[in-house]
Every structure is written in C-alpha cells, then in structure tokens.
C-alpha cells in the first residue's frame, strides 16, 4: 500500500494514498460557528466546499501539548484534501465502503508534508500501548520506517462515522 505521509507536531502520520485527492498550501478558510472545535472551517477549492478538520483538536491535544509539539517556529500548514466516497468508489468499492464513508468533501490540516512510502500490508503492526498523542480508535496501525514510527490513520474514524450523521452514509 502506498502511504502519503505527513508530520503533525512531532508525530509522523500517514494515510492510504488512494484516499488523497490533492494537497495544497494552507489558505484562508471560513470558520463555522457552532460546529465542533475540531472543524476548522470551510474552504473553497474550485467551487467545491471542503470541510477542514483540525487533526490536533481531533486528537484532543491541549494548548500546552500543541505548543510543545509545534515548537516555536510559525507553521506553514498544509491541507490534505480527501476523496469522497463516490470518488473512491471508482477505484474500489471495498475501499470506499470500509475506509471512505464520508460523502462530503473533507480535508485534514497537517504541519509538514512527508514522502510517499510503500508499506507492505504485513508490515503494519497494531499500535503500541504507550503511543502518545493519538487515541487508539484513530489508528489503523503503525509501521517502523527507518528510525521513525509511522502511524497510519484510521481516516473513517477521524471523519467521524459515528459522531456525524452526515458522514455515515454508505452508498450501496
């Protein structure tokens, strides 16, 4: 499996590249007042309205943690725009049904971009118990790459199949 990798604070994360539609520099977004705090806002990309998820808030990092992880440099963040259920469906129905359950265009905010890694499925391990920063349901597995631990995200969970009625639709 090809994995698109990113840095978030000092952790190394990745998502299945088949689920990624495009990546762009962070740009101006519009907050949605009244939405959960991990929804950063809405973004217009060529007429599509993308809902941006703030991963750090999604992982419930506190302000101190964010400060600790981010360091002092001002961040040039990136938006990772995901494919929608319909788009993934064209590639693989199975993948769409298991990994990409959301209907709306959504995106993740990450701090830095990493390489694309080829990760054989059998190299993916269950997350170690002492992993900090991400709670288990959000993790699909971990892979040791060189000296780093790459956390492969359970994207379906992050976009909240259970918490958001809008994200739960499964198109038969």
């Amino acid at each position: 499996m090809l994995v698109s990798t990113f840095h978030l604070g000092n952790i190394y994360i990745g998502v299945d590249i088949l689920l990624v539609r495009e990546i762009n520099r962070s740009m101006e977004y519009t907050p949605i007042p009244g939405s959960p705090d991990y929804i950063r806002g809405m973004l217009n990309i060529r007429g599509r309205i993308i809902t941006l998820f703030d991963l750090k808030r999604r992982f419930s990092w506190t302000r101190e943690e964010v400060a600790r992880q981010e360091g002092k440099e001002p961040l040039k963040q990136y938006n990772v725009i995901m494919k929608t259920h319909h788009e993934v469906m064209r590639i693989s129905r199975r993948l769409a049904d298991t990994q990409c359950t959301w209907e709306d265009p959504v995106g993740l905010v990450v701090d830095r971009l990493g390489d694309v890694r080829n990760v054989p499925d059998d190299h993916i391990l269950p997350p170690p118990a002492n992993l900090r920063g991400i709670s288990a349901p959000f993790i699909r597995g971990v892979v040791r790459i060189e000296k780093e631990l790459l956390v492969i995200l359970n994207i379906a969970k992050i976009f909240g199949a259970d918490e958001h009625p809008g994200g739960s639709a499964v198109d038969g």
Partner: protein, 1083 residues
Amino acid sequence: MAEEDEELLAMFVQESTEHLENIEPNLLILEERGAATDPEIINSLFRGVHSIKGSAGFFGLTAISKLSHTMENLLGKVRDKSIEPTSEVSDSLLSALDKLKTMVHDVINSEAVDASAEVATILGILERSGHAVPSAPPPPKPAEAAPAPAAEATPAAAAAPAAAATAPAAATAVAPSGASDPFNLENFVGAVTDALKENRKFFDVRLEVTQEDEKERKEFVNQFCQLVESVGSVIDFKPPLASGGAVPSLPGNALRLLVSTVLTADLLQDIVQLKPQAIQTVAIPSALVNKLAPPVPVSKPTVAEVVEAEPTRAVAKPKANTYSARLVKPRADAGSGGSAGRTEDKAKAGQPTVEETLRVSVALLDELINMAGELVLTRNQLIRATSSFVAQSPHLASLVQSIDSVTSRIHGKVMQARMQPVNVVFNKFPRIVRDLALKLGKKIDLEVRGGDVELDKSVIEHLSDPLTHMIRNVADHAIELPKDRVAIGKPESGKVELAAYHENGMVNIALIDDGAGIDSERIKTKAIEKGLITESRAAEMSEEELLDLIFAPGFSMAKKVSDVSGRGVGMDVVRTNIEKLRGTVHIASKVGKGTRIILKLPLTLAIIPAMIVSAGKLRFAIPEIGLIEIVRVAETDLAKQIQMVCDAPVLSLRHTLLPLVDLASTLGIETQDGDGGIRWMDVWLRQHTQQQKTNAAANNQSVPKRTSRPPGHSISHYSQAIYVMVINVSGNTFGLVVDDVLDSEEIVVKPLPSYAKDTTCFSAVTILGDGSVASIIDYAGIVEKAKINFSSLEAASADMEEVTRAALREKQNIILLETPSGLVMGIVNNMVSRVEVIQRGNCRMENINHQSYMHYNGVSFHILYPDQILGLEGNGYGGESSGDDDTFCMVVPAISGLQVGLMFSRIVDTMEAYIDLDTHVIQADGLFGTARIDGRLVLFPDLNRLFQLADIMPASVDAPVDYDGMKALVVDDTPFLRIVTTTYLKQAGFQVEQAEDGMIASQRLKNTPYDLVVTDINMPVMDGLELAKEIPSTLNAETPIIATTSFISSDLVTRCVRAGMVGCVPSTDKFRLLNMLATLKRV
C-alpha cells in the same frame, strides 16, 4: 436484452404517464361540456387510451391492456355520439383512469391490480346503450400484435403503410394491389375533408363473409360494422349493400369496406381481428389533399376555422405533403395530447422547423448548474485579478469582457433550463377540485391562470403539497353548499381562481375564492380558546394579524373534522413549507365575500439575493427575502435607541420595540481584537445593570428616573455604529445586529457541509466573489438559538410603549438657563422673543411697590425671578451675589404687550432635544414639568402662568370666557407640547383629555363627544389634517378644531381651513390659542 427490455418498459411508463396526464384534463372537459365537447378532445382521449393499450399489449401487460381497451370502447361510442357523455360516463372513465394510473406507475405489479369493478361499470354502460362489444377484449398477443405487422405481412400489404408514410402520391399507385376495383376517394369528398381535419386515414378492409343465410350475413356484417364504428367509421362497401343493409351474395365471399379511422393499419387490424393482409391503406390522392387540406399556416388555432378557410386555398404544396405524411403517424401526435397540444401540433405540422425538446437527466442539469456557478465565481476572480493589467493591454480588456458576458449568458441559460411551468403542479387541481366538489356536494368552478409562469424545478417540487392543502381547505371550508349560496344571492357554484403571475421579481401564486370568507372574530375566539393568544393580546390585534393566526400550529377552523381537511394540522405546514422555499404567505378575507391567499415565491432557490454582512470578523450572507430594512444606529445614538426589556436589548423603531439579536454573540464568535470575546453588547449590558443598581440607590433622593435608559456616556466609548437587519420570520419581527453591511449580491446557494448541520443557524453556504466561503443565515435557527420569546416581548412592548413613543417625538429647540439659585430651567425657543446678556454696570435696578424693575438701554422692564415665583429655591438664593460674574441674562418672552424680563444668571446651553416631560416629580403652579437633559434635571416653566402668578398678566388675555365644564381633546405626538397645550386649556377651565396621534384621537372621537379639539398637524400614523377629515364622520362632526404647529405659514392656514378647521395657531402660544377660542365662543 433484458436490460433493453427494462429500458423499453421504462419508456412505456414514461410515455403512458404523459398520456395519462393529458387524458385527465380532457376527461374533465368532457365531463363539463358533455355532448358539446370539441370532437378533437374526444379524439385525443381516444388516441391516448389507445396508445396505452397498444403498447401494453406489446409488453404483454394484460391488465392494462384490458382496462384501456374497455375505456377505448366507451370513448369510441362517445365519439360516434352513440353514447351521450353523461356524468356517469365521465365518472366511470375517471375512476378507470385512476386504476390505469396505479397500474402504469407500478407497471411490474400491474397484473395484480384488480380493475374488474371499473371494467364492469364501463361494460354496464356499453350494454345499457346497446353497444356491448361483440367480442371480448383482445387476448393479449405479446410482441406479435402491434409493432410488427409489417414483418409478417405479405409483400403486397407491407408496401402499403410504408409507401403511405413516404409519399402519398406514390401510394395511390401502389395501394390496392390485389383488389379489382379500388375505392375512389374522390367520391367521398365530405368524408375526406373530415378525415383531413381529424387526422383520419382510409383503409380498405376485406371481410370474409362465409354465411350462407342472407340474414346471418347481414347480422355478421352489422356486428363487424359496429366493431369498426367503435374506432372509426364505415364509409362505403364494395359491392354496395342493398337497401336495409342486406348483404348481397359476394364473389369469393369477400366484402370490402372503406373505413376511415385515426388508427394505423396495425392497430385497426388489432381491433377488427383480421389478418394483416385484409387491411390496406387507401391513400388520399395528393390532388385531393391539396384541394381539401387545411392551408396549414401556423396561426390557425381551431379546427373550425381551418375548415372554413380551406376550399379557396390550393397552395402550400410542400406543406400539404408534410401534413399527409403526418397522417399516417397519429401516435406521435397523440403523445402531445390535450386540446392545446393538438392545436400546437397542427401548427407544427406546417412548419418544417419544429422546436425540438430533449430529455436531460436532472443530475446532469444540476451538475451543469454547479459548474456554471463556478464559472461565474472564477470569472469574478479573473476580473479582479486582471484589473491591474487591463490598462496596459487593451486586448486583455476585450477578452475579459467577452468572457464576462459569455459567462453571464451561460449562467442565465443554464438556470433557465431548470425552470418548469407551474402547470406541472396546477394541472392536477381541476381533478382534485372536481372530486372534492362531488364528495362534499358542492359546485365549484376552478379557473386556472398563468400556468405557463415558470419556476425553478426545486420550487415546483415543493409547491404541490402546500397548494393541494390550500385547495382542499378552500373546497372544504370556504365554498358554501349550493343551497346556502343561492340563499345569500351568490351564484350556485363557487368560483375558485388559481393564478400565477410575476411581481417584483417574485412569482405570486394567488388562490382566490368567492366563498364564505374567514371570520376574524371566530378566529379570535378559537385562538383564545386554544390558548394561542391571550385575550388582551387578541383585543389589540388587527384583522390581518388575526387572519394570520390560521397559520399558527394547531389551529384548524373546521367546525367538524372531515377527511378532507380539518385535522388541526395544515395551514401551519403550508406556511412552514412556503417559508422553506424562501417564500411568504399573505392572506386577506372578507366575511361573506371570499378569501385571497397569496404565496410569494422566489423564481429559484439556486440563486438568491442576499446582503453580505460582517460580524466578529466573519462574513455571512443574509437572504433578502424576509429582510425588511436595515437600520444603522450611530454610536452616539446607541444609548438613546437601545433599551432593555425583560433583560433583552430592544431597539425603538418607530412605534415598536424590536428585539435585538447580536449575530456574533449568538453564534458564539469571539472577536479577534483581543477583548476576550466580550462584545459591545455584553459590555453594554454589564454597564447597564450597574447603572440600574446605581439608579436604585439614587432613587431615594429626589433625582427622577423614569426610563431605564442608561446615560449615554456609559456605553458610547465602548461601542461603534451598528447595523440592525430588521427581519421577519413567521410573522415575528426581530433585529439582527451586525457590525457592518458589506455588499448586496446574488449568491449561489450550496448545500451546507454535513459536519455543520448541527448548527441550526445556517441554511446553506455560498462562495463569495473573492472565492471565500460564507454561511447563509437561517432566520428561524437564529431565533431559536437566541431564544427570543416574542410573546413576552409583546407584553413588555405595551408597557414600554408610552416611554418609547415619547422618546421618538419631535425635538424641541430649547434654551437652558441657570437661575441665581442654581436651578436649570428650559424654555422653548419660540416662547422667547429675545435673550439679552447684560453687563451689571450697564443697568439700573429699582424696587417699586415690591416689584422689581430694571432700566436698561433706555427701556424699563418689569423683572421676575422665576425660581422665586415658583417657590423653588436652589442652593441658597443669592440675587446679585450669585457668583463673581458681572453679567446676567434676561429672557424677554414672546408675549406681545409685555415689558417683562425673566432674570437668570447665565445661559447654560442652547440645544435641540427630545423633552420627555415628567409632570409628577416636581409639581408647582407655573411649571409644566421637569425633564432630564444630559443628566441634568431641567425645569420647564409655564411663562404665561408665571406672569399671572406675578400679577402682571396682559389685559387682553384676562377677559376670561368661561369654559368651565367643557371638554377638550388635545392631540399631539410631542409629550411636551401636549402638556403645554393641556395646561393652557385647563387654565381656561376645560376638562382636557389627551391623545398621542390622529389614530388614537379618531378612535376617541368616535365614542366621546368633545366641545373642542386641538390638534398638532405633524404627527405619525395620522396627521392633523387627516384627522380633521375623519372627524365629520364621528360624533364630533360639529366640534371646532384648532390646529397647532411649530411653523405657521399662510399656506398651512389655508390648508387647515380647507380641512374643516377653525384655524391654526403656533404651538405654545397661549394667547393666540385663547383668542381663537374667544372668537368661537362669540359665534
């Protein structure tokens, strides 16, 4: 293959549905006009049913085929006029149609639908009229029956329809191949004329007559003829029949019939159950066509006209060809059905350039619309981005311009593609009304107009339910029973008008009836009964507001619950649905005359006009529908115009209190300029609460405090100017406070991301011109979130009204002066002739007989110290000793013949201010009252009274006419002036009542007699002149009216007199008022 079948079946359903849609209105016409129905309509009915039958046969849908066959038979009889189209006939056809609809809509299960009752009814009718079908409906012959006769036909027969379809001229030559003696159509000019106008064709039908017995032969031929007559007519026989219909012995047992019918050969064959070879087309010779054919020009709307015009015109050859080519394809015709569709078809027939339509899936259309929307946005950005280069490159400018215009056009056209005529919805109402009328035993004529007005598909889709509900209501409640109508002199049948039309960029749909109307009193009683409103509230409600209550949830006016309507849900749903479409509902009604409900709908939901506003650094779109006005409140006016009622901020807007909702704080937006998320409103509230506490403490002292208005300085430096968007939602009005109004834009509505659905405050999102996203505010959601309680506010509003109204009155120009004792007095400018600031050294004081006089500039003045006369002493009276000032000032009042000066130590200020006069705090003879101005307590003396108290009243006034016991009404919207005038009149002996504006006054004048009316001219709601015109129709027709005004002019005096007033005097001028009164008394 299976897929293809499915596709074909889908096409069948679609096609049949279209036929059914056309059949229904035509059946209603048939029902209404009976025997007088245009034969063309019956033909069209016939063809519609027939097409369904034909296709159903092809798919082996026996049930559909059987039912439609039966209907067709009956329609055939009706067409031949052998069965009178009674209501029984149309009823049976309508119920059969319903069954047919059910079957077609669920075509897969259509076989299981039991239509035997409908079939039996129709057969019953047929039987009674002696036209029972000889043979049973055709056994289904799937696939082989209708569509493929050519394939299995003999070459000779096959040639016929094909040839006819191509060139009629050639067809003549080919037609009756194996026959010895062709029918010559030249002999049947009448029949051919009829055929041409009805799109009929001629067939040569060869019938085997094998019976030996002449009687049997006659019987058999008769039966066959009857069968044929059900779908067409028999024109001639070969060999000809003997008299009395006896059939001669036939060579080769073959009787040939010339048959004229609208059907194609294959369909005819299907009905008469003969071999395909036995039926051959007889083409109409082209010469005959040219001679007889209607001259096909486009604008021949009715068949009748065509026929009358035809014989003289033998031109238009190619057109005639087109026409006859169409003759063999009636099924294509039938598709467009309906009488209107028919005429159109005729027109088209003559026009080679037919306007074609194409079915496009809605999904594709939506995608196109989306992309067109994006194109518009990109265009906007392009224009912005290139604006700086345009000057350098003229070529670029023209490119951008043309992209601009093309984009606009594309967008416009694409949006147009979504538009549908409202007829899509309207078409079903004639049937609904008919059924309801029958069921309820009423007579209702429904007139539908403006069906071609177009609305966006999404609006149309959601219009059906509310409209249906409204129409049911009208039929059920509004229209009276025929006998009741006749009893009150109305025509027996009720008239209901359903009309669509454009107005102000919206589409209005009006539903007007001439029924019983809605009794607002009954609504009132009912609403109180149901606890929807309180009695006191009900008493204040206008007729319109009361009528509006029928849209309140849980309100149903039906005296008894019926299954038509009256379940207590309904009209509220209507309003909710219409408001969801961003539309509004308006109702007007007159008891006994009827009701008018108007729905105002936007043309489209995809693009709406909106205001772009900012709140807490974010931008939002506020739909213009429902937005009544925008009020800018300057920061200096915040304190004056915004008050607290029931702990909620309200804006005094004209005569009402408008609850305010701060957009940013409702949404929980933190302002980003570092004040920790506290917005001015909160600051204001905090300040205000504190202020109230201080006031409470201060109230123990003599400081008066009537209003709960905080002093201006407490908020002004925290705040900025604000904008209040005055918004009406479900009949309630509130003000949405925003920081700024940026723009007015037509925005493209995009669905709200599902992750934002929990926030009820937004209905959708849009992309602004600069490419950023903005949420569209949902009014109802905001109201809910902000928890506005409109009812408690209304109550409070009533309490606060007096105060609010007072605050809104005219400003007065006043001079504030300080007395030597330190009191501040206010005198209205126009009571003052002049104010002189006098150097102490320049004058000489003198006391004569306990009166003070001053000699100044060679003139002597009788001087008065107002505080002394009023008996009010400030911080120690000091006369000359007041301060070290070597000046003082003297006010000379504008009272002629008086050399009086009022002594003050200095002028504090001159200003224009609202005077909110309080007559209770400090009461003294000679004092109008007190008011707080700029935090200071100001006393307003009654100068005239002062001089009376000082015994220096001018003689002219003191010829007192006795007004004791007379009653006067003082009308003035300015409390100060009202009190002034009242005081004057009271002093003259009047018993005085007050009214705040013309409207209130005219109410009182209706019930109470007065001896005098003194009214201000300029007033809100109803001004003095209007009031004067109202008075003659009241109890007080003879009562003299005197006008007061701050700016008197001869023109105004004339107008007053013309309005029936005695005259006009300057307000606050006691003498002229009393003088005018004196002239009256003498009269």
